[in-house]
Amino acid sequence: MSKAIKEQLEPLFSPKSVALVGISQTATNVAYMFLHNLLDAGFTRVYPVNPKGGELLGVKVYPSIKDIPGEIDLALVTVPRSAVLGVTRECAAKGIKGMVLYTGGFSESGPEGRKFEQEMVKIARKGGTRVVGPNCVGTYNPSARLIPQAILPKESGPVGVISHSGFLFYYLLMSINDAGLKPSKGVSCGSDCDLTCVDFLEYLGNDPGTKIIVAYLEGIRDGERLMRVARDISPRKPIIVLKGGNTDAGRRASASHTGTLAVPTAIWKALCSQSGIISVDSFEQMMDTLVALHHLPRPKGRRVGIITTPGGLAVTSTDACNELGLEIPQLSTKTQKELTAAIAESVGTSVTNPVDLGLIAALSPDNYIKNAIRIVAKDPNIDMILTAFTGPPFDDDVRDRKVADILLKAIADGGKPTVICGATPQGWPRGELRFLAQSNVPVYPEPKRAAYALAKLAQYSEFLRSAQA
């Protein structure tokens, strides 16, 4: 990474002090909300700024930025647009390292806004102040207690987050939390007027705490650099991107949202193929892919062994894998022989791929499914396993925990990337699936989602192999 990016962005993610400019004690004032939440999170070096002065939540309010004693790393600016240039001048004069501009109405609102924005960036740069936004909520870093919203995860984990949308930034952080993972650092970067999503990607790509990156992006201002940076990062950590603005109507919406140029679909496809970016089409797919890429080892190829109890899931799982370009090869003679012996008492079975274990297996998965996983995982023709079964029609914590543990051990011993598709007619998840869903084996409620996660896992592994070749 260029040393400059690390040096310039570090104070924005781990600020020693934060100014909240444009604060007032009203329910809709974002700076006030941030003050409240930062204090709650244990971040105390905060300096509210309002010409009226006084005190808020027990913290002294400074009439202007220049009145604040000592250095300021980060300023959150929520003043009306008409006051932005003045505040920018003050930030620059104070030598503030970074300015998060919450205020909107710049390049996304037309040529006049664009001119205004260029003027602001010019002023900021003269003082060495970098601008995040406009139209954004800025940086988040739980390990530095920089947690501007009370709902956001407070512990840190492996997932770096970048979003052109402020709302979707919070939504992604919460979804990551719901998926059982934690964010490392994140940024809502708005319209990329100065610092861009590519700068943040480069920063997170070289951040030791970040092991995997998810991003919601709209237009790109510096395509050539995105290509170089993503190509450099992808072999070390996966980058999962949902790109908005892929239809004519979507592009119009994006132009008035971030004001950046949309990327043509053919070029986006080329970019992903060349740089290893894993492109997804929905937030659900983003989380499904994230969980699989985070938890699972990298498969050697795209050949899937499918193990199911209901025949319908065998067929739909096979269809789903096939449609996504995964292969469902014949199992070796040895595997078929061992499977035949292991499911001798069951009826309506098949030991070819997909392996259909029949009804008995659904009633004692700790025996049949466990054995099938152990046997199929040894087959040299198989790179990954998708096992689909129904939970029992009742919940029994002791039994379910025990069954889940037995299956998890078989999957771990098998050593091949394995996902579970757990459909149940009684709601989801039931029985042992409740415990499996909390484990480090990805569980999906639908064959298409399980197959999709495996397809993305295979795609990334292929990129890694070709990048090393």
């Binding site: 395509g223 050539e224 290509m227 140029l261 070029i267 080329a270 193929s273």
Partner: protein, 230 residues
């Protein structure tokens, strides 16, 4: 990188290269291209034809005539000196009839290439990503089915390899139903040379090799079109 052709065209105040100039540029890129020479008289056309070997193709060369075949400016499969001479006279007459004021530089003469699997390669520029290469099968596949693949310059070996295999018509390159297969390694090599060349020559705005005839042991660019940045 400097190119004498690019410099001289720009010096003349033009941005569109003629067929002969475009092909010289393709040759500069290290890409095999059918040898094409400019004849300014009928006698020259005949002597060039004899030197290249029959059958030959004659085409009008004028920056003012874009759609050459529409006005009768292209004659294919000329088998001997008499046919070549007659074609020269006819093309000149047709061109003057089509556009009295056209700046006619002469008539290009080239050996008629043996048909192969037709592929096309092109470069255009994207505002954010710079030069982008396109690859596809020629004719109906690109025009009607839009069966093309794109990659951003610079390409590496893996990009070139995947790009060719990405198009739906790829089986046709492998020799469908006893047809002569295309040499994929040669096509990959041409893509990499094209990528390298446009990367080093930012003055090129658009570059099309259309068609390229692909054979089992080699490939040959049969026509080319280059436009420079103004």
């Amino acid at each position: 990188m400097t190119s004498k052709i690019i410099d001289s065209v720009l010096k003349n105040g033009r941005t569109v290269l003629t067929e002969v100039e475009s092909k010289q540029l393709v040759a500069e890129a290290g890409i095999p291209v059918v040898e094409t020479k400019l004849a300014k008289t009928k006698a020259e056309a005949i002597s060039i034809s004899k030197k290249l070997g029959f059958p030959v193709v004659l085409k009008i060369v004028s920056p003012d005539i874009i759609h050459k075949s529409d006005i009768g400016g292209v004659k294919l499969g000329l088998a001997n000196a008499t046919q070549a001479g007659k074609a020269y006279t006819e093309i000149m007459a047709a061109a003057k009839k089509a556009n009295k004021k056209a700046d006619i530089q002469g008539i290009s003469v080239q050996k008629m290439a043996r048909p192969g699997v037709e592929v096309i390669m092109g470069m255009s520029k994207d505002a954010q990503f710079g030069p982008v290469l396109m690859f596809g099968l020629g004719g109906v596949f690109v025009e009607v089915l839009k069966d093309v693949a794109f990659r951003i310059v610079p390409l590496n070996k893996r990009d070139a390899s995947q790009m060719i295999r990405e198009i739906k018509g790829y089986p046709l390159l492998e020799g469908y139903r006893g047809q002569e297969p295309a040499n994929i390694n040669v096509l990959e090599d041409i893509l990499l040379k094209l990528s390298d060349f446009v990367d080093k020559n930012p003055k090129i705005k658009e570059m099309d090799l259309n068609p390229i005839f692909a054979y089992k042991d080699r490939a040959l660019a049969v026509d080319a079109r280059v436009i420079l940045e103004s």
